[in-house]
């Protein structure tokens, strides 16, 4: 598998780069900002496993992120747990939450899952606001531990950790996409009845995707309290996570693992720049405006847009034409079966 080797090389290179940057770059803000970008790579990639491949939209990504964050907080307060334990626990709990929401709603097709995710976000936030142990609505300050050996600061360490998580999440999403699992999920998105009749255990597959997607969102949120040195519900459950988690894959392109990565790097970077240069309130507006723009003008995201442009310029040269190329869209079946041949 040449593609597989190339991906592995790129993944290793990405991790080495992150470690090297943590040693070389002087400006501490670089790590503060890059951490956020990487965190959104994980969130967007996680969202896309269910939302992009299988077509079930999660509006409550913020809840899964915050459940991860508050799992970490609870563990820090209770037993002063090490980061790795926080990550594992966040993975498990957020995964269970994803599985639970799925088990309640994924038997039904359509929007019921999406509606439930909105409800989950409200329920989780209310629960946390009323949970004194983790700080309730007033929040909780958390002391960053001493920076581990080889690292100048704890933020640099968290930056490398998040880079590692991002690479693992993307590798997982890529494996799912190119394997039989991804084909099954895309079959579900295209036609769930037909997928069932082709032998795809649709419910099982949807549940697995919901659990994994939720679990990865939780992992994205787990280092958040240590990164901020502070946690409070409004920022942990921020609408920004829910909006960005779905805007980034849609803007990048949901059909491939590359889409969420491109969307997240692009959008999160723009957000960081806008936060610094203009205002921190405006950055959500940027996401919203871009999302609307893409949904209207390029519903298949940047990936679809570039493919369409490439095809158009390629058409001028190549003589091979396939039906549907002109519009860039696949014509749906136009003819309904007729009863013409009836005796």
């Amino acid at each position: 598998m040449r593609g597989g080797n190339r991906f592995l090389a790129a993944a290793v290179l990405a991790i080495i780069t992150a470690v090297a940057l943590a040693q070389v770059v002087q400006n501490e803000y670089f790590f503060f900002a890059s951490y956020v970008v990487l965190q959104f790579v994980v969130l967007a990639t996680a969202w896309n496993i269910l939302g992009g491949y299988a077509g079930y939209v999660n509006f409550g990504s913020g809840a899964f992120f915050a459940v991860g964050a508050y799992t970490a907080v609870a563990l820090i307060k209770a037993i002063d747990a090490p980061l790795i334990l926080q990550l594992v626990a966040a993975f498990v709990l957020s995964g269970l939450l994803g599985f639970g929401v799925g088990a309640l709603t994924l038997r039904l097709r359509g929007i019921f899952f999406s509606i439930a995710t909105v409800a989950v976000a409200v329920i989780c936030e209310t629960a946390v606001v009323n949970w004194r142990f983790v700080g309730g609505s007033r929040g909780l300050a958390i002391l960053q531990p001493a920076a581990p050996l080889w690292f100048e600061s704890y933020t640099r360490f968290l930056f490398v950790v998040m880079a590692l998580i991002a690479v693992l999440a993307v590798a997982l999403a890529r494996y799912i996409q190119i394997s039989w699992i991804g084909r099954g999920l895309r079959a579900i998105r295209d036609d769930e009845d037909a997928a069932e009749c082709a032998g795809v255990p649709t419910l099982k597959l949807k549940l697995a995707a919901a659990a994994l997607s939720g679990a990865l969102m939780g992992v994205a949120g787990a280092p958040f309290p240590l990164y901020m040195s502070f946690i409070e519900p409004t920022s942990a459950f921020s609408l920004n996570y829910a909006v960005s988690a779905l805007a980034m894959p849609i803007i990048g392109g949901t059909s491939s693992w590359v889409g969420p990565v491109i969307g997240a790097v692009l959008l999160a970077s723009v957000q960081q720049i806008v936060t610094v240069t203009v205002s921190s309130e405006l950055n959500v507006l940027v996401v919203g405006v871009l999302l609307v723009g893409f949904v209207v003008a390029a519903p298949e995201g940047l990936l679809g847009l570039t493919a369409r442009l490439a095809r158009r310029s390629g058409l001028a040269r190549a003589s091979i034409r396939t039906p549907g190329d002109d519009t860039g869209q696949h014509p749906r079946v136009a003819e309904a079966p007729t009863d013409a041949g009836r005796p």
């Binding site: 039989w180 009845d193 069932e196 009749c197 082709a198 032998g199 079946v333 009863d339 041949g341």
Partner: protein
């Protein structure tokens, strides 16, 4: 009684106050070709849906190769060796033709084994058999109607079924295309697959069927050889109003 591939006993299906099927019973023997005819709304597609698992029967039972499948979800029935096509082709539009065929190969034929290269070879062989080899990499959404019909057949056959349910695979096709698809279907039958086919095109059903069942208002009103059913007074009344 010889062992039958499929035994439907007293199946009923209601949609609100409308009885789509009321007490339908039929049997399919190994390698048999059974044709189902009947006017629109007589319950043909509902019957196929109940057999394939796309809908659940309200009453009655369905045995498939000796297993009671009345309550099994559709994918379990597929794993047991049942495959179907849809009245309006329902390919996975965003997947390529080859991937459409790969889905049942990966989920039924070689479930749980990981041999990407072999799976792809077998998918290509099936597309070849249907005359779609040169379109393997096109998205299914870009295929014309006759190719979609063939793709439905290829996808159904990819599951290695012992029973194939065909719901108007020839609707909307030209006369030459009808013969082309019919030849494919008959070849599949010679490979040992039992087939139930719903069809409005009389010429096709006459050439295809060993036995024909006529449904009307959710009940079987006639059964026999194609010639017998065509002469049956009830069938003549339904179709000719005489």
């Amino acid at each position: 009684m010889t062992a039958s591939v499929l035994a439907v006993r007293g199946v009923c299906k209601r949609f609100g106050g409308f009885a789509a099927l009321s007490g339908v019973s039929l049997q399919v023997r190994p390698t048999e070709r059974l044709g189902i005819i009947g006017p629109n709304g007589s319950g043909k597609t509902t019957l196929i849906n109940c057999i394939s698992g796309s809908a659940r029967a309200d009453a009655g039972s369905i045995d498939f190769n000796g297993v009671d499948i009345t309550r099994l979800p559709a994918h379990r029935r597929a794993h047991l060796g049942m495959a179907r096509s849809f009245q309006i082709p329902r390919p996975f539009f965003s997947l390529s033709a080859a991937e459409n065929v790969l889905v049942p190969i990966e989920y039924v034929r070689h479930r749980g084994s990981l041999h990407g290269a072999r799976d792809r070879r077998e998918a290509m062989a099936l597309l070849e058999q249907m005359g779609l080899a040169d379109k393997a990499d096109l998205p299914a959404g870009a295929l014309p109607q006759v190719d979609l019909r063939k793709l439905e057949l290829a996808r159904a056959m990819a599951a290695n079924p012992t029973l194939l349910l065909l719901d108007e695979v020839m609707a909307g096709l030209s006369s030459a295309e009808v013969d082309e698809v019919l030849d494919i279907v008959l070849t599949l039958n010679q490979q040992g697959v039992s087939i139930i086919m719903i069809e409005h095109i009389m010429r096709a059903i006459m050439r295809f069927s060993q036995r024909v069942v006529c449904l009307d208002a959710g009940q079987i009103v006639a059964e026999g050889t194609p010639a017998e059913v065509a002469e049956h007074p009830e069938v003549r009344r339904i179709y000719l109003g005489a």
